[in-house]
Symmetry: C5
Subunit: 353 residues, 5 copies
């Protein structure tokens, strides 16, 4: 089950910029992948020695450095030195419990957001992704090797579409867009789940239905906490007047902004829908109880009086004239018939039958 807050292994009061990896260690090896591409060329290779990068990112071509695995803080620190990143930025990269945000530094943007996806069992997973967007370079930090970015990698390699003709900011957009596309995918799945629960509500709701409702609500809260700040983040990027984000790329960021708005609208709508479904469920439970009680009441109010009549003539008094009447027994049945009839009419009137 996902956690709403990650416990920091950082002791309170530690100096800022202290590189402590917060979160589960999800991969063993830190893997560094380099893309270096321009209109004509495209180099893709794995990096072992960080010295190689030093030269690379000073060229005009787009340099994309993708780091997978955050537990090895020495590598993160080395990269921080090469690109002269602020110590707080490095601290935030390795603290995977961070809130999505954007920070504008002197010569780069620092962007944190959450990659959300469903694993094989349709369970919601969340990985933190950090982006450093500089002039001619983009560095991305991921917790594990996901397949969210693979479509973008493919597009770079193929050289199809716009991506090889554009700069780093477009690459950043393409990656964020891929992440947000996953959000929409998750919302679609959640919509299906909600529909199934609605169907259950209509046919045969049980306590399990209620538990599913709660678990989807929980999921919505989880998503909202992770997605809500992304809207603010994108808004800041769009409004920023930094030369790092070119005029022609802004229109693309605005497009992702629309998508995020759509996702947030949907989350809010789902929350309202879920609470309406809860009301429906509770009213169904109430009605069922009512029905159970009615059955009990009908049976009891018919049979208790006539059992009493039978009880009366089961008494052993010596002096009970009715017992000796020849029509006594028939009389009892008549009484029983009348009582039952009256009760049934009463219930009909009350619309209990």
């Amino acid at each position: 089950m996902f956690k709403f807050i990650k416990k920091s292994s950082k002791t309170p009061g530690m100096p800022p910029g202290a590189l402590v990896h917060v979160g589960d260690k999800k991969t063993d090896v830190t893997n560094i992948q380099l893309f270096d591409y321009g209109q004509g060329k495209c180099i893709a290779k794995n990096i072992d020695n960080l010295e190689e990068i030093k030269e690379c990112h000073k060229t005009e071509s787009v340099t994309w450095l993708n780091i997978t695995g955050l537990h090895d803080t020495r590598i993160i620190e080395q990269i921080g030195n090469i690109f002269s990143l602020h110590p707080l930025v490095l601290e935030d990269i390795v603290n995977t419990g961070h809130r999505p945000k954007v920070e504008e530094h002197d010569d780069y943007f620092f962007i944190v957001l959450k990659m959300l996806y469903l694993d094989k069992d349709k369970a919601l997973c969340s990985e933190q992704v950090s982006l450093i967007l500089g002039e001619h370079f983009l560095i991305t930090f991921q917790e594990i090797e996901g397949d969210v970015f693979s479509a973008v990698r493919e597009r770079i390699k193929n050289g199809k579409g716009r991506i090889r003709k554009m700069d780093c900011d477009y690459l950043a957009y393409a990656l964020i867009d891929a992440i947000v596309d996953h959000y929409i995918h998750i919302m679609g799945e959640a919509g299906d789940q909600i529909e199934m629960v609605e169907l259950e509500l209509e046919t045969d709701p049980t306590q399990q239905t209620m538990e599913k409702l709660h678990s989807i609500k929980r999921e919505m809260l989880y998503l909202r906490k992770r997605i809500m700040p992304v809207r603010e983040m994108l808004n800041l990027l769009i409004k920023s007047e930094s030369p790092l984000i070119q005029e022609k790329t802004v229109v693309f960021f605005r497009d992702v902004y629309d998508h995020i708005n759509h996702v947030i609208d949907t989350i809010e709508t789902f929350r309202d829908l879920l609470s309406s479904m809860l009301d429906l469920y509770l009213s169904i439970v109430s009605n069922r109880m009512n029905e159970v009680m009615k059955v009990l009441t009908i049976i009891a109010t018919i049979f208790i009086p006539i059992t009493f009549v039978a009880g009366i003539y089961g008494m052993n008094f010596e002096n009970m004239p009715e017992l000796k009447w020849s029509f006594g027994y028939s009389m009892v049945w008549i009484i029983i018939g009348v009582v039952t009839g009256v009760m049934l009419i009463y219930f009909k009137r009350k619309k209990w039958l």
Copy 2:
């Protein structure tokens, strides 16, 4: 049943501007209709060859191109080329799961909104309508041939009223106004439904009443999600200082803005009303349960004690002096009368009778 989110058939990570039709294919043929009118003239024809348009939209007269059917992405792409539309605009046109919005491009506005109407079974339907408002031309994209725009077409053909004397922005207004008029119509229908449910609540509410409540609530959520962004959209149009929207047309847009505000107010009021109706329903269910329980309790508390008395004198002990008393049997009836009387007085006091 309407869906709250459309699943994108676009694979996450696909390049932006990829033309993938999202949504159900609702019509087989793509139909292109051209209106070309000015103060004196009015041409209306169906277009087969898109080459015809090329010349048309450069004249001073108003050119309205209405495309019905979005599944044939090649046609959309061709139109995009002729009017030099941004690839993202084309992507949004064919993605029918989009959020209402307006985008100001260099020489055109791109507007997306939802046409909502009730079908024959009074079920709520939603179609996406996109508008491209340029200088002297307006392009509209619809999923199916609806009759929402037919009144406007009639007005153009008749040449009555203001429409033939005004420019494209007025035509855009007229179409948006027709759509918003439908929203008001739907709200009126919803108001009728709510009134009927209120009547049911007053007379004889059942679980069906509750289900109707839930389904109207669901409808309100659906409407809010689709209508809320339209307010923001119109506000942007009114505040935009683009020459494409003339000063004299702004007052008309402000009028639609008022209507949208009215619709949104009504949606919010209905939501509050529905939740108050839910409370009423739940309290009715509670009261019914109470009444059922009271009937059971009254019958049981009267008959259980007197049945016990009858049970006592049904025992077969050899040595039971009362059985031999001549007034024993009458005594039992007196006891029963007293017990019943006491109970009835008690229930009267408790106001259960």
Copy 3:
């Protein structure tokens, strides 16, 4: 019962400015009343021929034209021509389902608001009032001849107070103030109703109490929908820098603004209060149910076991030694006494008695 939305008889897609009366026809004759007053003079007469007005409103004195009855759209149109009003303004005047608003036109303000009052049966009624505030003239449109404006008319005729010395904007203020005073009056009545329901809750709440609660809540929703936009409207009037509203009148409008704020605060407080009363009511119902169940449970748990004992010795086995014991019958009574005693102690401990 009041409606939350008026169905428009206007067909969707009709041209804007089409004069279609929306709402019930509440009066048969359209009545036009003219006030023409200045510091020294005061003329009040009914108008039959609209030609008379033409000259009138061009003088320096204040001209107040009050039209009662909106169904005769030709008269409205004629007035529109004389004062050169925008077609949309005329459309809004006859559409009585409109949202309160203010529109600043070139040489006049167009104001729509709702006159709310209680009829003889204390039922809430709502009439639309539209005001056209121009230089030296004010036109008011009412659905029926109400007595809301009569106090203002009296003041004009008497010439007492400030009103004859001030301009049209002050007259507009005086009329709006009279309307808002009625809102406060209605809130006072609602406060009384709420207090009565609270008293019922304390003494003897029934399902009727709940229905009253719901109906007051409904009323609050209705009021909020009609009154909320008035605040915004007044704010716009105060902030407008139009010469039509003089500096010295603004302080009066600010005073009405305070009153509206007070009304809105009260509506919000009442809503919260009503929902707290609902909680109280539901808890009372729950407690009652609890009490009913306790009575049933106490009676049943005492008598069911002892009836069983009596049942045992009612059996007809040949071989039942107890039946022959001389103290057998007394023993049964002792058992019954013990069982009852134990039960009573148990209930005392549980605080059910």
Copy 4:
């Protein structure tokens, strides 16, 4: 019990500035008290003839005029004339149902707020206090002679502290501060009440507990309605750039502003806390009902079957072989034992025992 809205005795439509006292007449005599102090001097006396004031307030020293009792509108009018107050200001002073506000007039501030205090029976009382802050004079209007201002009076007489060295704006601050201190005191009392109710909830909640909850909630609504606008009011005073409020006094007003914020935060927190307590209470009631039902069910499901067994052998058929068996009676007891045992095990498993 406090009212949420005061019914205006002013007839709707009366001219603005009409002096009609709204509210209960709480004192018989109107009492006018004058303080005239500066660094060296301090005069305190009661005023009978309003002529005396005329000269007084034109000096450089601080003149504080405190009027107690608002029903005598002639006196209010006279004061209005002397200090040339706007008619609307006078109207608002005598209308004790007014919303807290500040109005900036040409040469004075008009401030309305509510003095809240607990009377001997700890019941919440509310009096309206109006302040006119001019250059070198402050006029305060109270409904009754309260002791809220007495501490300030003492400080002026003693000449201790800062107050004699400061101007009118500081005096206004000191009075508002005294009022706000009372708000905090009331919140403290409410906090105690809530704690007592929480204790009751933990030990032995009854319907009375629920009624206390409702009454505290009611109180919170009442307080919020009266206190919320004070924040806005103080904010306007702080931001106003009028010379009437000196730079060095602003820091003091900011301090009261913090206190009001604290009070409002506490009101909101209490509201949330109360609603959580309501949930707790309702769940306790539900659990109790559950327990009652369990006792009934356990007793009934054990004894009903075994009573049936006894009933069977109470039948009088001639041909019932079991009755003649010598071990028949023992067999019945064995059956009873087995049934009871099975039921008990079932209840244990269900955790009902």
Copy 5:
């Protein structure tokens, strides 16, 4: 249990700046500790005579004065004189019931916030911390000697990291950061508690579960009240253009701001989660009741009719033909079997079995 509001021992109406300690006296001795450090040096000592400070804080090096214990108002007053603090600042320092805030004075910032921590029994504790940030000096006031600041002290003594190279503003940041780190720690603990309650809800929820829910909700309200204003406070510090906060330190404050945002997001998410858990709990209780009722109803509706049958043949009428039939007794068992069978089928159909 923590209190939501501290009762002020200050009598309402007392002059502002009156030094009255509000809150519990938590320590006996007031302890003054001095840190005086720069790049090269670091002096740490306890101060007895306040005269020593006078010289100290005028040097270029960073002077940190930490006062523990606030009950001795004379010492606070003396410090106020030395650093010429505003009387209202001193009043707020000793009033430990204050709302977090920042105040910008001429040559210092006054910051109030709450140090929150869990004591040995995991109970939430709150201490007020005030900071005076001046040029080259920082004064901190604490209620008791906590260990929240000890990590910072350690860093100063070691001279490791950035702290010795930076100015007072960085020290202020480091202390606030230490406090906020504790907030995150508390949220983590709360997250664990919520998870445990969720587990209980899934397995075996009792009334205790509900009480835990309420107590966590209470805690959240308490935290929100104390933490919410810190965000606003930090925002003011970041936006302030005072030279006291250097450009290079702002980035650090922005980092704490992110952390506070994260904490507030989490509080809001937890609140929503808790209310969803409450719904789940209530539905579980309802379902249990339903199950109890079903068992009762099934047993009762099967046995009451067949007991009646047995009752009938227990009657002592002389003339009851069935009693003499040889197959009479078997017939009764057949009737019983049929009735039971019918009932069981009925319950199966209703899905009660």
